[in-house]
């Protein structure tokens, strides 16, 4: 009976195949050689990324598609810091043994040598990376600056956050994990300070900076099972297309893996973009869900440090960067007065002076309505043609933690616009966009980047200190949570699948 024989053979093959089948690819199986090959083939969103420099040449950004990563300021440059180190010994840890030859300029940069940024950030939230170290009593038992921390940073971006940490804490060993080798290559080749740091070791022999091209989830899992020392701080700053944290890095299980990779008093510091709710978007659910997942993972104590765009009253409906700190030990100001005193006493960039014109960007821009960025030029273009412009403008207020002078006088606006057009045409350069059209408001912006960093720090600490406003219990787990609505608990089985930061 042929049919029977064939049926039997098929059944046998089927049973064998079934029992030997490989389980489908799951995130919690790690350490397989298969994982790396998959990463090698991932189409990188950064495949066509490029560094761009701001109009006023004061900061550079990593741009991919229409998005920008955070940005290091170009002044103070690494050379500026090395020069300063001659009189300020606390900068000695940023001085290479042999002078580093600058990279030759390329098509993106009009000068002979590529810029070499220092450690000052144009983006606000990077300035708060140090709170992850300062909130740790054991690390700051002696001089907080000498904290011997092992830090893992998930998500590289432009790398300026690493520079902020390296500037203020000479003794930290940073391991930065990014899924994308292309980003690592871009930063390694265009940020000489970070490249140099990756070749250096701390006084006790730990590498100051390590680049790892791996999925962070896998790295944390493997690290937790290895014999390497636990991390004192894990910074989660991974953002993917749609300006969203990858879902598998926002689940209870992942945070539990982070907790296992952390020391007992270790801190998880996450940059989570979101609001407290009340607006039209669902972005408060991302923030709320992340906090819930951290608490459920065993990091029960959570505190949020909102990054304010403008100084002044905190607006809960505003979508912003939130530096969420989670740990097994208590974090709130009441239980940890000494730690919060350290936060209040901490001064960013103590060696650098506020008011130093080299570190100040001055930009003249035309606003239409309340939009900024419609047309802007460095103020230096106008210094000779329209002298004392700033003095002629009327109102002065704080803007995005810088200073702003405004005028709606059409006479001044025309004078300035004509001067800009003349300046560029004389130099036979294309006139920047927007300067030939009519505009309502002329704006003179002045950013003192040192002041900017310190203001960001102070405003955020000040805001976070308010009692019962920004801790995990007030936000999510208490009887009347501030983040309202159906806040999900993100787990591996049901991760954040559909709340994106762009378009939602």
């Amino acid at each position: 009976m042929k049919t029977l024989a064939v049926a039997l053979a098929l059944a046998l093959i089927g049973v064998t195949g079934w029992s030997l089948q490989s389980p489908p690819y799951r995130l919690d199986r790690v350490g397989q050689p298969a994982d790396q090959a998959a990463l090698a083939h991932r189409d990188s969103a950064y495949a066509s990324a490029t560094w761009v420099v701001s109009q006023s040449e004061n900061f550079m950004q990593l741009r991919f598609f229409e998005r920008n990563e955070g940005s290091p300021c170009l002044r103070p440059s690494w050379d500026d810091l090395q020069e300063l180190a001659k009189t300020k010994p606390t900068l000695a840890h940023l001085v290479p043994e042999r002078p580093v030859v600058p990279n030759p300029g390329d098509a993106t940069w009009p000068h002979e040598w590529l810029p070499s940024p220092g450690t000052v950030s144009h983006t606000k939230y990077n300035n708060l990376f140090p709170i992850g170290i300062l909130l740790n009593d054991r690390l700051c038992a002696g001089d907080p600056r000498q904290a011997p921390a092992n830090v893992a940073v998930i998500g590289l971006g432009s790398g300026v956050g690493l520079a902020v940490l390296a500037h203020h804490f000479p003794n930290v060993s940073i391991t930065v994990i990014d899924i994308d080798q292309a980003v690592i290559d871009l930063v390694d080749s265009h940020y000489p300070l970070l490249h140099w740091l990756s070749t250096q070791k701390t006084t006790d022999g730990r590498p100051r900076l390590r680049f790892v091209a791996l999925d962070a989830r896998q790295y944390i899992q493997v690290h937790a099972e290895s014999s390497e020392p636990r991390f004192d701080l894990i910074v989660l700053d991974a953002y993917t297309s749609g300006s969203t944290i990858p879902p598998h890095l926002m689940t209870r299980e992942f945070f539990a893996e982070c907790a296992a990779a952390l020391t007992d008093d270790g801190i998880l510091l996450g940059n989570i973009i979101g609001s407290y709710g009340g607006g039209k978007t669902r972005k408060h659910l991302v923030l709320g869900g992340a906090i819930k997942a951290m608490i459920a993972a065993g990091l029960e104590h959570v505190h949020n440090f909102p990054i304010l765009r403008m100084p002044g009253d905190f607006n809960p409906t505003e979508n912003r960067n939130n530096m969420v700190v989670a740990s097994r030990v208590a974090l709130d100001p009441k239980s940890r007065p000494a730690a919060w005193q350290r936060l209040r006493d901490f001064v960013l960039y103590p060696e650098l002076d506020r008011g130093n014109p080299a570190y100040i960007s001055r930009v003249v821009a035309l606003f239409r309505g309340n939009e900024d960025g419609t047309a802007s030029v460095p103020a230096e273009v106008l210094d000779l043609r329209v002298p004392r412009l700033r003095a002629r403008l009327g109102k002065n207020d704080r803007y995005n933690l810088g200073q702003r002078w405004l005028s709606n006088d059409p006479g001044i606006i025309k004078e300035v616009a004509d001067a800009v057009v003349a300046a560029y045409t004389e130099q036979k350069l294309p006139v920047p966009a927007g300067w030939r059209e009519r505009s309502e408001t002329l704006v003179y912006l002045e950013y003192d980047w040192i002041d900017h960093a310190r203001s960001t720090w102070n405003e955020s600490i000040q805001c976070a200190r308010q009692p019962n406003q920004h801790d995990g219990e007030a936000l999510v787990s208490g009887p009347r949570p501030l983040i309202q609505g159906d806040v999900p608990l993100f787990t591996d089985a049901r991760p954040n699948a559909d709340i994106f930061n762009s378009g939602d």
Binding site: G14, A37, A38, H41, R42
Partner: protein
Amino acid sequence: MRLYALYATSILAGFCMMSLEILGARLLQPVFGSSIDIWAAIITVFILSLSVGYVIGGRVADRARSNQVLGWILAAAGACYLILPAVSLPFMEALPSSLTHARWGVLVAALVLFLVPSLLLGMVSPILVKLVFVSAERVGRTTGTLYAIGSFGNVVGILITNYVLLQHVDLNHNIFAQGIVLGVLGLAHIAKRIDATGHLVEREAAPASDVPVAEGAGA
């Protein structure tokens, strides 16, 4: 009745073959990621194997007198599906990294994994053409209809696999289920004989031509 059975076979075989393209991409994913290189490899390998299958299937079809060989082929294809989940990942992990990191490495892996099942399913078409053949006057119509029905099966296979099956059923379970379907189909063909009537028509005609046309010649 036999026509419908053959049409059904065509649809099911087409369904499973195109479905394997989609499922195959998922199978390759753990090692080769999900970039466009996989799709180039899958499409190449499937079309290549199908064309080789057509050639071999044509030879086999000419010698076939019934659907028995079709049953064996479908059963063998089913067996390939059944062992694919067990074999794919260990095989790919055993590949040297020089292969897995190269853009064309996925071509090699796809070839090894999918050559045999798609070749076998490619052989199904010519044999079905032979089996539906009724007469020379209608060969165009019957073959055209068969191709159309087979393509319809392909399309249904792609759409249902992508939009329905993969959302609700595990990858491995999908492949197993289709292996069982092909196996049962093969068993059905082995059990129930369908003669290739086209073959018989030819054999009836042959003796007639041996009869000398004597009467009319001399008149």
